[in-house]
Symmetry: C2
Subunit: 329 residues, 2 copies
Protein backbone atom coordinates (compact mmCIF):
# COMPACT_ATOMS: atom_id res chain seq x y z
CA UNK A 1 0.00 0.00 0.00
CA UNK A 2 2.96 2.28 -0.57
CA UNK A 3 1.68 4.17 -3.58
CA UNK A 4 -1.75 5.17 -2.43
CA UNK A 5 -3.68 7.43 -4.76
CA UNK A 6 -5.29 10.66 -3.65
CA UNK A 7 -8.80 9.19 -3.86
CA UNK A 8 -7.81 6.30 -1.59
CA UNK A 9 -6.34 8.58 1.10
CA UNK A 10 -9.07 11.25 0.75
CA UNK A 11 -8.77 14.99 1.14
CA UNK A 12 -8.04 14.93 4.85
CA UNK A 13 -5.30 12.34 4.30
CA UNK A 14 -3.81 14.63 1.71
CA UNK A 15 -3.93 17.67 3.97
CA UNK A 16 -2.22 15.54 6.64
CA UNK A 17 0.65 14.71 4.26
CA UNK A 18 1.05 18.34 3.37
CA UNK A 19 0.87 19.50 6.98
CA UNK A 20 3.33 16.85 8.14
CA UNK A 21 5.85 17.90 5.53
CA UNK A 22 5.36 21.60 5.94
CA UNK A 23 5.21 21.44 9.73
CA UNK A 24 8.96 20.80 9.79
CA UNK A 25 9.53 24.36 8.70
CA UNK A 26 10.09 26.77 11.54
CA UNK A 27 7.67 29.61 11.87
CA UNK A 28 9.33 32.90 12.67
CA UNK A 29 8.29 34.95 15.68
CA UNK A 30 6.26 37.40 13.58
CA UNK A 31 3.77 34.73 12.55
CA UNK A 32 0.61 35.13 14.66
CA UNK A 33 -1.76 32.73 12.85
CA UNK A 34 -0.68 29.83 10.71
CA UNK A 35 -1.86 26.81 8.68
CA UNK A 36 -5.04 25.67 10.36
CA UNK A 37 -6.55 29.11 10.88
CA UNK A 38 -8.75 30.93 8.35
CA UNK A 39 -5.91 33.19 7.25
CA UNK A 40 -2.17 33.24 7.67
CA UNK A 41 -1.20 36.34 9.65
CA UNK A 42 2.13 37.94 10.42
CA UNK A 43 3.23 41.13 12.10
CA UNK A 44 5.03 43.82 10.11
CA UNK A 45 5.75 46.68 12.48
CA UNK A 46 2.49 47.86 14.03
CA UNK A 47 0.39 46.19 11.36
CA UNK A 48 -0.74 42.61 11.15
CA UNK A 49 -1.02 41.35 7.57
CA UNK A 50 -3.50 38.51 6.93
CA UNK A 51 -3.38 36.46 3.75
CA UNK A 52 -5.77 33.84 2.50
CA UNK A 53 -5.72 31.71 -0.62
CA UNK A 54 -8.49 29.74 -2.26
CA UNK A 55 -8.85 27.80 -5.45
CA UNK A 56 -12.10 27.18 -7.33
CA UNK A 57 -12.12 24.51 -10.02
CA UNK A 58 -14.85 24.01 -12.65
CA UNK A 59 -17.04 20.96 -11.96
CA UNK A 60 -15.54 20.60 -8.47
CA UNK A 61 -16.54 23.93 -6.89
CA UNK A 62 -18.90 25.22 -9.54
CA UNK A 63 -20.66 24.22 -12.74
CA UNK A 64 -20.74 26.74 -15.58
CA UNK A 65 -24.45 26.00 -16.17
CA UNK A 66 -25.33 26.77 -12.57
CA UNK A 67 -23.69 30.15 -12.12
CA UNK A 68 -23.14 33.17 -14.36
CA UNK A 69 -19.56 34.30 -14.97
CA UNK A 70 -20.22 37.55 -13.10
CA UNK A 71 -21.62 35.76 -10.04
CA UNK A 72 -18.67 33.37 -10.17
CA UNK A 73 -16.26 36.31 -10.07
CA UNK A 74 -18.19 37.79 -7.14
CA UNK A 75 -18.33 34.49 -5.26
CA UNK A 76 -14.60 33.84 -5.74
CA UNK A 77 -13.77 37.11 -3.98
CA UNK A 78 -16.50 36.89 -1.31
CA UNK A 79 -15.40 33.44 -0.10
CA UNK A 80 -11.80 34.61 0.24
CA UNK A 81 -12.83 37.82 1.97
CA UNK A 82 -14.86 35.62 4.33
CA UNK A 83 -11.57 34.02 5.47
CA UNK A 84 -10.22 37.51 6.21
CA UNK A 85 -13.41 38.45 8.12
CA UNK A 86 -12.93 35.26 10.13
CA UNK A 87 -9.80 36.84 11.67
CA UNK A 88 -11.77 39.67 13.27
CA UNK A 89 -11.42 43.40 12.65
CA UNK A 90 -9.22 42.97 9.57
CA UNK A 91 -9.77 45.18 6.51
CA UNK A 92 -9.55 43.30 3.18
CA UNK A 93 -7.28 45.45 0.99
CA UNK A 94 -5.81 43.60 -1.99
CA UNK A 95 -6.92 40.71 -4.19
CA UNK A 96 -4.83 38.63 -6.58
CA UNK A 97 -6.52 36.56 -9.24
CA UNK A 98 -4.93 33.57 -10.94
CA UNK A 99 -7.01 32.38 -13.88
CA UNK A 100 -6.61 29.01 -15.55
CA UNK A 101 -8.61 29.17 -18.77
CA UNK A 102 -9.33 26.63 -21.51
CA UNK A 103 -8.32 27.79 -25.01
CA UNK A 104 -11.96 27.63 -26.13
CA UNK A 105 -13.30 29.87 -23.35
CA UNK A 106 -14.98 32.93 -24.78
CA UNK A 107 -14.02 36.52 -24.25
CA UNK A 108 -17.39 37.54 -22.83
CA UNK A 109 -17.13 34.91 -20.10
CA UNK A 110 -13.79 36.34 -18.99
CA UNK A 111 -15.04 39.92 -19.16
CA UNK A 112 -18.09 39.01 -17.08
CA UNK A 113 -15.92 37.19 -14.58
CA UNK A 114 -13.66 40.24 -14.32
CA UNK A 115 -16.74 42.46 -13.84
CA UNK A 116 -17.87 40.27 -10.96
CA UNK A 117 -14.45 40.43 -9.34
CA UNK A 118 -14.40 44.19 -9.81
CA UNK A 119 -17.88 44.70 -8.32
CA UNK A 120 -16.95 42.97 -5.06
CA UNK A 121 -13.54 44.64 -4.88
CA UNK A 122 -15.22 48.03 -5.26
CA UNK A 123 -17.76 47.15 -2.58
CA UNK A 124 -14.97 46.45 -0.10
CA UNK A 125 -12.75 49.26 -1.50
CA UNK A 126 -10.19 46.58 -2.34
CA UNK A 127 -7.54 46.84 -5.05
CA UNK A 128 -7.12 44.06 -7.60
CA UNK A 129 -3.41 43.79 -7.20
CA UNK A 130 -2.42 41.44 -9.97
CA UNK A 131 -2.65 37.95 -11.15
CA UNK A 132 -1.65 35.44 -13.69
CA UNK A 133 -3.39 33.84 -16.64
CA UNK A 134 -2.56 30.36 -17.81
CA UNK A 135 -4.05 27.76 -20.10
CA UNK A 136 -5.90 24.98 -18.28
CA UNK A 137 -8.34 22.20 -19.17
CA UNK A 138 -10.95 23.50 -16.75
CA UNK A 139 -11.62 27.01 -15.52
CA UNK A 140 -9.54 27.43 -12.38
CA UNK A 141 -9.73 30.53 -10.24
CA UNK A 142 -7.09 31.03 -7.62
CA UNK A 143 -7.73 33.99 -5.34
CA UNK A 144 -5.41 35.48 -2.76
CA UNK A 145 -6.74 38.21 -0.53
CA UNK A 146 -4.61 40.38 1.73
CA UNK A 147 -6.07 42.13 4.77
CA UNK A 148 -4.52 44.54 7.25
CA UNK A 149 -5.26 45.42 10.85
CA UNK A 150 -3.67 47.22 13.76
CA UNK A 151 -5.93 45.28 16.16
CA UNK A 152 -5.39 41.88 17.70
CA UNK A 153 -6.66 39.12 15.44
CA UNK A 154 -9.24 36.57 16.61
CA UNK A 155 -8.11 32.99 15.99
CA UNK A 156 -9.78 29.59 16.01
CA UNK A 157 -8.21 29.02 19.40
CA UNK A 158 -8.92 31.12 22.49
CA UNK A 159 -12.34 29.93 23.70
CA UNK A 160 -12.80 29.46 27.47
CA UNK A 161 -15.16 27.09 29.34
CA UNK A 162 -18.45 28.90 29.87
CA UNK A 163 -18.18 30.98 26.66
CA UNK A 164 -21.29 30.97 24.50
CA UNK A 165 -21.15 29.77 20.89
CA UNK A 166 -22.77 32.25 18.53
CA UNK A 167 -23.53 32.29 14.82
CA UNK A 168 -24.74 34.94 12.36
CA UNK A 169 -27.89 34.62 10.22
CA UNK A 170 -29.16 31.20 9.07
CA UNK A 171 -27.66 27.85 8.15
CA UNK A 172 -28.44 25.22 5.53
CA UNK A 173 -29.77 27.43 2.71
CA UNK A 174 -26.74 27.21 0.42
CA UNK A 175 -26.37 23.45 0.90
CA UNK A 176 -30.09 22.97 0.25
CA UNK A 177 -29.77 25.09 -2.90
CA UNK A 178 -27.01 22.83 -4.22
CA UNK A 179 -29.05 19.75 -3.39
CA UNK A 180 -32.01 21.12 -5.37
CA UNK A 181 -29.77 21.79 -8.37
CA UNK A 182 -28.38 18.24 -8.20
CA UNK A 183 -31.90 16.84 -8.01
CA UNK A 184 -33.72 18.88 -10.67
CA UNK A 185 -31.03 20.65 -12.70
CA UNK A 186 -30.96 24.35 -13.54
CA UNK A 187 -33.92 24.44 -15.98
CA UNK A 188 -36.58 23.08 -13.58
CA UNK A 189 -39.50 25.34 -12.58
CA UNK A 190 -38.61 26.10 -9.00
CA UNK A 191 -40.92 27.72 -6.45
CA UNK A 192 -40.10 31.16 -5.02
CA UNK A 193 -38.64 29.58 -1.87
CA UNK A 194 -36.56 27.08 -3.83
CA UNK A 195 -35.21 29.89 -5.99
CA UNK A 196 -34.20 31.76 -2.81
CA UNK A 197 -32.19 28.74 -1.62
CA UNK A 198 -30.52 28.32 -5.02
CA UNK A 199 -29.72 32.03 -5.15
CA UNK A 200 -28.14 31.88 -1.67
CA UNK A 201 -25.65 29.34 -2.97
CA UNK A 202 -24.44 31.78 -5.66
CA UNK A 203 -24.73 35.00 -3.65
CA UNK A 204 -22.50 34.64 -0.65
CA UNK A 205 -21.70 37.75 1.33
CA UNK A 206 -18.67 37.73 3.59
CA UNK A 207 -19.66 38.91 7.08
CA UNK A 208 -17.03 41.65 7.12
CA UNK A 209 -19.11 44.37 8.78
CA UNK A 210 -20.40 41.97 11.40
CA UNK A 211 -16.90 40.72 12.19
CA UNK A 212 -15.56 44.27 12.46
CA UNK A 213 -18.31 45.28 14.89
CA UNK A 214 -17.96 42.39 17.33
CA UNK A 215 -14.34 41.22 16.97
CA UNK A 216 -13.08 42.85 20.16
CA UNK A 217 -15.53 40.86 22.31
CA UNK A 218 -14.83 37.44 20.77
CA UNK A 219 -12.52 34.75 22.17
CA UNK A 220 -12.44 32.62 19.00
CA UNK A 221 -13.84 32.90 15.49
CA UNK A 222 -14.13 31.07 12.17
CA UNK A 223 -16.39 31.13 9.10
CA UNK A 224 -18.70 28.26 8.22
CA UNK A 225 -17.45 27.38 4.74
CA UNK A 226 -17.93 23.64 5.30
CA UNK A 227 -21.01 23.63 7.54
CA UNK A 228 -21.74 24.26 11.21
CA UNK A 229 -20.50 20.85 12.37
CA UNK A 230 -16.99 21.39 11.00
CA UNK A 231 -16.86 24.99 12.32
CA UNK A 232 -17.82 23.96 15.86
CA UNK A 233 -15.18 21.23 15.69
CA UNK A 234 -12.54 23.74 14.62
CA UNK A 235 -13.26 26.09 17.53
CA UNK A 236 -13.41 23.35 20.18
CA UNK A 237 -10.33 21.52 18.87
CA UNK A 238 -8.54 24.86 18.40
CA UNK A 239 -9.04 25.61 22.09
CA UNK A 240 -8.63 21.99 23.23
CA UNK A 241 -12.11 22.12 24.79
CA UNK A 242 -15.59 20.66 24.28
CA UNK A 243 -19.11 22.03 23.95
CA UNK A 244 -22.81 21.35 24.38
CA UNK A 245 -24.72 22.35 21.25
CA UNK A 246 -28.49 22.93 21.36
CA UNK A 247 -28.98 22.17 17.72
CA UNK A 248 -32.69 22.99 17.70
CA UNK A 249 -31.55 26.60 18.23
CA UNK A 250 -29.60 26.65 14.94
CA UNK A 251 -31.24 29.48 12.96
CA UNK A 252 -33.00 28.33 9.78
CA UNK A 253 -34.55 30.54 7.10
CA UNK A 254 -38.28 30.46 6.35
CA UNK A 255 -37.62 29.49 2.71
CA UNK A 256 -35.58 26.56 3.96
CA UNK A 257 -38.11 25.27 6.52
CA UNK A 258 -40.94 25.66 3.99
CA UNK A 259 -39.16 23.39 1.49
CA UNK A 260 -37.58 20.98 3.95
CA UNK A 261 -40.13 20.16 6.64
CA UNK A 262 -38.41 17.01 7.90
CA UNK A 263 -36.32 17.89 10.96
CA UNK A 264 -33.62 15.33 10.12
CA UNK A 265 -33.15 16.88 6.64
CA UNK A 266 -33.05 20.32 8.24
CA UNK A 267 -30.32 19.23 10.64
CA UNK A 268 -28.30 17.56 7.88
CA UNK A 269 -28.21 20.70 5.75
CA UNK A 270 -27.55 23.05 8.68
CA UNK A 271 -24.72 20.89 10.04
CA UNK A 272 -23.13 19.59 6.84
CA UNK A 273 -24.46 21.79 4.01
CA UNK A 274 -21.53 24.11 3.62
CA UNK A 275 -21.08 27.38 1.72
CA UNK A 276 -23.10 29.42 4.21
CA UNK A 277 -20.05 31.58 5.02
CA UNK A 278 -21.57 32.77 8.27
CA UNK A 279 -19.50 33.61 11.34
CA UNK A 280 -19.21 31.00 14.10
CA UNK A 281 -17.63 32.33 17.29
CA UNK A 282 -17.28 32.14 21.04
CA UNK A 283 -17.87 35.02 23.44
CA UNK A 284 -17.76 35.33 27.24
CA UNK A 285 -21.28 35.25 28.71
CA UNK A 286 -20.81 38.79 30.03
CA UNK A 287 -20.38 40.10 26.44
CA UNK A 288 -23.10 38.03 24.80
CA UNK A 289 -25.75 40.77 25.02
CA UNK A 290 -23.64 43.60 23.62
CA UNK A 291 -22.59 41.36 20.70
CA UNK A 292 -26.22 40.60 19.92
CA UNK A 293 -27.08 44.29 20.17
CA UNK A 294 -24.32 45.21 17.69
CA UNK A 295 -25.32 42.39 15.30
CA UNK A 296 -28.99 41.49 15.83
CA UNK A 297 -28.64 38.50 13.44
CA UNK A 298 -26.61 36.67 16.11
CA UNK A 299 -28.07 33.51 17.68
CA UNK A 300 -26.44 31.54 20.50
CA UNK A 301 -26.54 27.79 19.95
CA UNK A 302 -24.31 26.33 22.62
CA UNK A 303 -21.75 26.64 25.36
CA UNK A 304 -18.07 25.73 25.63
CA UNK A 305 -16.99 23.32 28.39
CA UNK A 306 -13.79 21.53 29.39
CA UNK A 307 -14.97 18.03 28.37
CA UNK A 308 -13.04 17.94 25.05
CA UNK A 309 -16.18 16.40 23.54
CA UNK A 310 -18.89 18.05 21.49
CA UNK A 311 -22.37 16.87 22.49
CA UNK A 312 -25.43 17.71 20.42
CA UNK A 313 -28.86 18.16 22.02
CA UNK A 314 -32.17 18.36 20.19
CA UNK A 315 -35.13 19.59 22.24
CA UNK A 316 -33.33 18.65 25.43
CA UNK A 317 -32.28 15.14 24.37
CA UNK A 318 -28.75 14.17 23.39
CA UNK A 319 -28.47 13.31 19.70
CA UNK A 320 -25.59 11.34 18.21
CA UNK A 321 -24.34 13.12 15.09
CA UNK A 322 -22.47 11.29 12.33
CA UNK A 323 -20.31 13.30 9.94
CA UNK A 324 -21.95 13.53 6.52
CA UNK A 325 -19.81 16.15 4.80
CA UNK A 326 -18.77 16.86 1.26
CA UNK A 327 -15.91 14.75 -0.10
CA UNK A 328 -13.51 16.42 -2.53
CA UNK A 329 -11.80 13.26 -3.73
Amino acid sequence: MKNKTVSSIGEFGLIEIIKRNFAKINYNKNVVARIGDDSFCFKAGKNTICITKDMLVENVHFKKDWITAKKLGQKAIEVSVSDIAAMGNVKPKYAFIGLGIPANANKKFIQDLANGVEAVCNKYKMTVAGGDTVKADKITISVTVVGITKDKIVKRSGAKPGDLIGVTNTFGDAGAGVALLYKHGIKYKYSKEERALIAKQNNQTARVNEAHKIAKYLTSLTDASDGLYISIGLLTKGSNLGADIYIDKAPLSSSFTKIFKDSKKQLDFALFGGEDYELVFTVPKSKAKIVQKLVPQVTYIGEINSSKKVKYFHNGKEKKIKYLGFKHF
Copy 2:
Protein backbone atom coordinates in the same frame (compact mmCIF):
# COMPACT_ATOMS: atom_id res chain seq x y z
CA MET B 1 -16.69 38.58 -33.80
CA LYS B 2 -18.31 39.35 -30.48
CA ASN B 3 -17.65 36.03 -28.81
CA LYS B 4 -13.98 35.58 -29.52
CA THR B 5 -12.37 32.57 -27.86
CA VAL B 6 -9.21 32.81 -25.81
CA SER B 7 -7.13 31.13 -28.51
CA SER B 8 -8.26 33.68 -31.10
CA ILE B 9 -7.37 36.68 -28.92
CA GLY B 10 -4.16 35.14 -27.56
CA GLU B 11 -2.60 35.50 -24.15
CA PHE B 12 -1.73 39.16 -24.53
CA GLY B 13 -5.28 39.93 -25.69
CA LEU B 14 -6.52 38.19 -22.58
CA ILE B 15 -4.18 40.10 -20.29
CA GLU B 16 -5.42 43.30 -21.97
CA ILE B 17 -9.06 42.42 -21.16
CA ILE B 18 -8.14 41.71 -17.59
CA LYS B 19 -6.05 44.87 -17.25
CA ARG B 20 -8.72 47.04 -18.86
CA ASN B 21 -11.34 45.76 -16.46
CA PHE B 22 -9.17 45.83 -13.40
CA ALA B 23 -7.60 49.18 -14.26
CA LYS B 24 -10.88 50.88 -13.34
CA ILE B 25 -10.19 50.08 -9.73
CA ASN B 26 -8.42 52.83 -7.84
CA TYR B 27 -5.10 52.03 -6.30
CA ASN B 28 -4.73 53.39 -2.82
CA LYS B 29 -1.78 55.60 -1.88
CA ASN B 30 0.08 52.78 -0.14
CA VAL B 31 0.53 50.81 -3.36
CA VAL B 32 4.10 51.30 -4.62
CA ALA B 33 4.23 48.68 -7.42
CA ARG B 34 1.22 47.30 -9.23
CA ILE B 35 0.06 45.04 -12.08
CA GLY B 36 2.80 45.16 -14.67
CA ASP B 37 5.70 44.88 -12.25
CA ASP B 38 7.26 41.63 -11.06
CA SER B 39 5.51 41.82 -7.69
CA PHE B 40 2.68 43.84 -6.24
CA CYS B 41 4.06 45.98 -3.40
CA PHE B 42 2.38 48.09 -0.76
CA LYS B 43 3.54 50.03 2.25
CA ALA B 44 2.46 48.96 5.73
CA GLY B 45 4.06 51.38 8.18
CA LYS B 46 7.84 51.31 7.68
CA ASN B 47 7.73 48.01 5.80
CA THR B 48 7.00 47.39 2.17
CA ILE B 49 5.25 44.07 1.54
CA CYS B 50 5.76 42.48 -1.90
CA ILE B 51 3.49 39.71 -3.14
CA THR B 52 3.76 37.59 -6.25
CA LYS B 53 1.53 34.85 -7.57
CA ASP B 54 2.23 32.22 -10.18
CA MET B 55 0.39 29.23 -11.50
CA LEU B 56 1.98 26.13 -13.04
CA VAL B 57 -0.25 23.75 -14.98
CA GLU B 58 0.67 20.22 -16.06
CA ASN B 59 1.38 19.93 -19.80
CA VAL B 60 1.41 23.74 -20.13
CA HIS B 61 4.31 24.65 -17.82
CA PHE B 62 5.70 21.21 -17.13
CA LYS B 63 5.40 17.60 -18.19
CA LYS B 64 5.44 14.95 -15.47
CA ASP B 65 7.86 12.83 -17.53
CA TRP B 66 10.35 15.65 -17.82
CA ILE B 67 10.70 16.70 -14.20
CA THR B 68 10.67 14.86 -10.88
CA ALA B 69 8.05 15.85 -8.32
CA LYS B 70 10.75 17.17 -5.99
CA LYS B 71 12.31 19.36 -8.68
CA LEU B 72 8.85 20.57 -9.62
CA GLY B 73 8.23 21.66 -6.03
CA GLN B 74 11.61 23.41 -5.99
CA LYS B 75 11.02 25.11 -9.33
CA ALA B 76 7.55 26.33 -8.34
CA ILE B 77 9.03 28.20 -5.37
CA GLU B 78 12.19 29.42 -7.13
CA VAL B 79 10.29 31.06 -10.00
CA SER B 80 8.04 32.93 -7.57
CA VAL B 81 10.97 33.94 -5.39
CA SER B 82 12.59 35.24 -8.59
CA ASP B 83 9.71 37.73 -8.90
CA ILE B 84 10.44 38.90 -5.35
CA ALA B 85 14.19 39.21 -6.11
CA ALA B 86 13.21 41.30 -9.15
CA MET B 87 12.00 44.01 -6.74
CA GLY B 88 15.48 44.54 -5.25
CA ASN B 89 16.55 44.05 -1.65
CA VAL B 90 13.37 42.25 -0.62
CA LYS B 91 13.51 39.22 1.67
CA PRO B 92 11.21 36.36 0.64
CA LYS B 93 9.45 35.33 3.85
CA TYR B 94 6.25 33.33 3.30
CA ALA B 95 5.00 30.93 0.64
CA PHE B 96 1.44 29.74 0.02
CA ILE B 97 0.83 26.65 -2.06
CA GLY B 98 -2.45 25.88 -3.79
CA LEU B 99 -2.48 22.34 -5.19
CA GLY B 100 -4.95 21.09 -7.76
CA ILE B 101 -4.56 17.32 -7.87
CA PRO B 102 -6.19 14.58 -9.98
CA ALA B 103 -7.88 11.87 -7.91
CA ASN B 104 -5.48 9.26 -9.32
CA ALA B 105 -2.30 11.15 -8.34
CA ASN B 106 -0.18 9.06 -6.02
CA LYS B 107 0.83 9.87 -2.49
CA LYS B 108 4.55 9.65 -3.19
CA PHE B 109 4.30 12.28 -5.92
CA ILE B 110 2.68 14.71 -3.47
CA GLN B 111 5.18 13.91 -0.73
CA ASP B 112 8.08 14.48 -3.13
CA LEU B 113 6.53 17.73 -4.34
CA ALA B 114 6.14 18.88 -0.72
CA ASN B 115 9.79 17.91 -0.06
CA GLY B 116 10.89 20.07 -2.98
CA VAL B 117 8.85 23.02 -1.73
CA GLU B 118 10.28 22.52 1.75
CA ALA B 119 13.89 22.33 0.54
CA VAL B 120 13.71 25.71 -1.20
CA CYS B 121 11.76 27.32 1.64
CA ASN B 122 14.43 26.16 4.08
CA LYS B 123 17.18 27.49 1.80
CA TYR B 124 15.62 30.97 1.86
CA LYS B 125 14.50 30.62 5.52
CA MET B 126 10.94 31.03 4.28
CA THR B 127 7.82 29.76 6.04
CA VAL B 128 5.26 27.70 4.16
CA ALA B 129 2.30 29.69 5.34
CA GLY B 130 -0.62 27.69 4.10
CA GLY B 131 -2.45 26.58 1.08
CA ASP B 132 -5.36 24.80 -0.33
CA THR B 133 -5.86 21.41 -1.93
CA VAL B 134 -8.53 20.80 -4.54
CA LYS B 135 -9.39 18.15 -7.07
CA ALA B 136 -8.38 19.04 -10.63
CA ASP B 137 -7.98 17.22 -13.95
CA LYS B 138 -4.34 18.22 -14.24
CA ILE B 139 -1.77 18.96 -11.57
CA THR B 140 -2.01 22.70 -10.91
CA ILE B 141 0.37 24.46 -8.56
CA SER B 142 -0.48 27.97 -7.52
CA VAL B 143 2.25 29.68 -5.52
CA THR B 144 2.05 32.99 -3.70
CA VAL B 145 5.24 34.35 -2.17
CA VAL B 146 5.37 37.27 0.24
CA GLY B 147 8.53 39.33 0.70
CA ILE B 148 9.33 42.19 3.07
CA THR B 149 11.76 45.08 2.95
CA LYS B 150 12.41 48.35 4.70
CA ASP B 151 14.34 49.58 1.62
CA LYS B 152 13.06 51.29 -1.48
CA ILE B 153 11.97 48.73 -4.06
CA VAL B 154 13.40 48.71 -7.60
CA LYS B 155 10.71 48.73 -10.27
CA ARG B 156 10.60 48.09 -14.00
CA SER B 157 10.44 51.85 -14.47
CA GLY B 158 13.16 54.27 -13.40
CA ALA B 159 15.89 53.90 -16.04
CA LYS B 160 17.56 57.10 -17.29
CA PRO B 161 19.19 57.79 -20.69
CA GLY B 162 22.85 56.79 -20.48
CA ASP B 163 22.23 53.98 -17.95
CA LEU B 164 23.86 50.67 -18.83
CA ILE B 165 21.79 47.51 -19.21
CA GLY B 166 23.22 44.62 -17.23
CA VAL B 167 22.35 40.95 -16.86
CA THR B 168 23.48 38.15 -14.52
CA ASN B 169 25.01 34.86 -15.71
CA THR B 170 24.08 33.35 -19.09
CA PHE B 171 21.04 33.23 -21.36
CA GLY B 172 19.47 30.61 -23.58
CA ASP B 173 20.37 27.45 -21.65
CA ALA B 174 16.91 26.72 -20.25
CA GLY B 175 15.16 27.39 -23.55
CA ALA B 176 17.69 25.18 -25.36
CA GLY B 177 17.08 22.44 -22.78
CA VAL B 178 13.35 22.53 -23.46
CA ALA B 179 13.97 22.44 -27.22
CA LEU B 180 16.15 19.33 -26.81
CA LEU B 181 13.42 17.60 -24.80
CA TYR B 182 10.83 18.44 -27.47
CA LYS B 183 13.16 17.10 -30.18
CA HIS B 184 14.43 13.86 -28.61
CA GLY B 185 12.20 13.19 -25.58
CA ILE B 186 13.42 12.34 -22.08
CA LYS B 187 14.86 8.86 -22.78
CA TYR B 188 17.37 9.89 -25.47
CA LYS B 189 21.11 9.45 -24.76
CA TYR B 190 22.16 13.06 -24.34
CA SER B 191 25.76 14.31 -24.24
CA LYS B 192 27.16 15.87 -21.07
CA GLU B 193 26.56 19.39 -22.45
CA GLU B 194 23.04 18.58 -23.53
CA ARG B 195 22.30 17.18 -20.07
CA ALA B 196 23.58 20.42 -18.57
CA LEU B 197 21.12 22.45 -20.67
CA ILE B 198 18.23 20.13 -19.79
CA ALA B 199 19.17 20.29 -16.12
CA LYS B 200 19.21 24.11 -16.23
CA GLN B 201 15.58 24.09 -17.30
CA ASN B 202 14.60 22.14 -14.15
CA ASN B 203 17.07 23.76 -11.73
CA GLN B 204 16.32 27.43 -11.66
CA THR B 205 17.82 29.50 -8.90
CA ALA B 206 16.28 32.85 -8.10
CA ARG B 207 19.00 35.52 -8.01
CA VAL B 208 18.09 36.65 -4.51
CA ASN B 209 21.63 37.18 -3.18
CA GLU B 210 22.68 39.04 -6.30
CA ALA B 211 19.61 41.32 -6.17
CA HIS B 212 20.19 42.05 -2.47
CA LYS B 213 23.83 43.01 -3.09
CA ILE B 214 23.26 45.43 -5.98
CA ALA B 215 19.69 46.71 -5.52
CA LYS B 216 20.66 50.10 -4.09
CA TYR B 217 22.63 51.00 -7.25
CA LEU B 218 19.98 50.00 -9.78
CA THR B 219 17.51 52.33 -11.51
CA SER B 220 15.25 49.55 -12.84
CA LEU B 221 15.09 45.77 -12.55
CA THR B 222 13.19 42.69 -13.73
CA ASP B 223 13.80 38.96 -14.07
CA ALA B 224 14.06 37.22 -17.42
CA SER B 225 11.28 34.67 -17.09
CA ASP B 226 10.26 35.04 -20.77
CA GLY B 227 13.64 35.70 -22.40
CA LEU B 228 15.97 38.67 -22.76
CA TYR B 229 13.95 40.35 -25.53
CA ILE B 230 10.82 40.63 -23.38
CA SER B 231 12.80 41.79 -20.33
CA ILE B 232 14.56 44.57 -22.26
CA GLY B 233 11.18 45.62 -23.65
CA LEU B 234 9.71 45.76 -20.12
CA LEU B 235 12.48 48.02 -18.80
CA THR B 236 12.49 50.40 -21.78
CA LYS B 237 8.68 50.61 -21.98
CA GLY B 238 8.50 50.89 -18.18
CA SER B 239 10.70 53.98 -18.32
CA ASN B 240 9.26 55.26 -21.62
CA LEU B 241 12.75 55.15 -23.17
CA GLY B 242 14.71 53.20 -25.78
CA ALA B 243 18.00 51.32 -25.89
CA ASP B 244 20.85 50.11 -28.05
CA ILE B 245 21.58 46.43 -27.38
CA TYR B 246 24.91 44.88 -28.38
CA ILE B 247 23.52 41.42 -28.66
CA ASP B 248 26.86 39.74 -29.39
CA LYS B 249 27.71 40.62 -25.78
CA ALA B 250 24.83 38.52 -24.38
CA PRO B 251 26.57 35.97 -22.14
CA LEU B 252 26.21 32.36 -23.33
CA SER B 253 27.35 29.21 -21.49
CA SER B 254 30.01 26.92 -22.94
CA SER B 255 27.58 23.96 -22.93
CA PHE B 256 25.19 26.04 -24.96
CA THR B 257 27.68 27.26 -27.58
CA LYS B 258 29.11 23.74 -27.93
CA ILE B 259 25.69 22.32 -28.83
CA PHE B 260 24.36 25.28 -30.79
CA LYS B 261 27.13 26.62 -32.99
CA ASP B 262 24.91 28.59 -35.36
CA SER B 263 24.83 32.23 -34.25
CA LYS B 264 21.18 32.70 -35.36
CA LYS B 265 20.09 29.75 -33.16
CA GLN B 266 22.15 31.14 -30.29
CA LEU B 267 20.44 34.51 -30.60
CA ASP B 268 16.98 32.95 -30.82
CA PHE B 269 17.42 31.01 -27.59
CA ALA B 270 19.08 33.88 -25.72
CA LEU B 271 16.42 36.40 -26.76
CA PHE B 272 13.28 34.23 -26.76
CA GLY B 273 14.17 31.06 -24.86
CA GLY B 274 12.67 31.93 -21.51
CA GLU B 275 12.97 30.35 -18.05
CA ASP B 276 16.48 31.67 -17.45
CA TYR B 277 15.29 33.67 -14.41
CA GLU B 278 18.35 35.90 -14.51
CA LEU B 279 18.28 39.55 -13.45
CA VAL B 280 18.03 42.22 -16.17
CA PHE B 281 18.61 45.74 -14.88
CA THR B 282 19.75 49.28 -15.58
CA VAL B 283 22.45 51.11 -13.63
CA PRO B 284 24.01 54.59 -13.96
CA LYS B 285 27.42 54.35 -15.71
CA SER B 286 29.11 55.69 -12.55
CA LYS B 287 27.88 52.63 -10.60
CA ALA B 288 28.52 49.99 -13.25
CA LYS B 289 31.92 48.96 -11.89
CA ILE B 290 30.89 48.58 -8.25
CA VAL B 291 27.91 46.46 -9.34
CA GLN B 292 30.20 44.19 -11.34
CA LYS B 293 32.57 43.96 -8.40
CA LEU B 294 29.75 42.91 -6.04
CA VAL B 295 28.38 40.39 -8.55
CA PRO B 296 31.16 39.26 -10.94
CA GLN B 297 28.60 37.33 -13.06
CA VAL B 298 27.25 40.66 -14.36
CA THR B 299 27.67 41.51 -18.07
CA TYR B 300 26.64 44.80 -19.67
CA ILE B 301 24.90 44.35 -22.98
CA GLY B 302 23.54 47.77 -23.90
CA GLU B 303 22.70 51.35 -23.04
CA ILE B 304 19.45 53.21 -22.44
CA ASN B 305 18.65 56.23 -24.65
CA SER B 306 15.71 58.56 -25.15
CA SER B 307 14.72 57.20 -28.61
CA LYS B 308 11.79 55.09 -27.35
CA LYS B 309 13.05 52.38 -29.73
CA VAL B 310 15.11 49.30 -28.96
CA LYS B 311 17.81 48.71 -31.60
CA TYR B 312 19.79 45.49 -31.69
CA PHE B 313 23.40 45.43 -32.94
CA HIS B 314 25.43 42.33 -33.79
CA ASN B 315 29.17 42.86 -34.21
CA GLY B 316 28.59 46.56 -34.87
CA LYS B 317 25.80 46.13 -37.44
CA GLU B 318 22.14 46.81 -36.73
CA LYS B 319 20.05 43.63 -36.76
CA LYS B 320 16.26 43.60 -37.11
CA ILE B 321 14.78 41.29 -34.48
CA LYS B 322 11.37 39.69 -34.90
CA TYR B 323 9.56 38.42 -31.81
CA LEU B 324 9.57 34.63 -31.69
CA GLY B 325 8.29 33.95 -28.19
CA PHE B 326 6.33 31.21 -26.54
CA LYS B 327 2.55 31.28 -27.05
CA HIS B 328 0.38 30.09 -24.15
CA PHE B 329 -2.87 29.82 -26.12
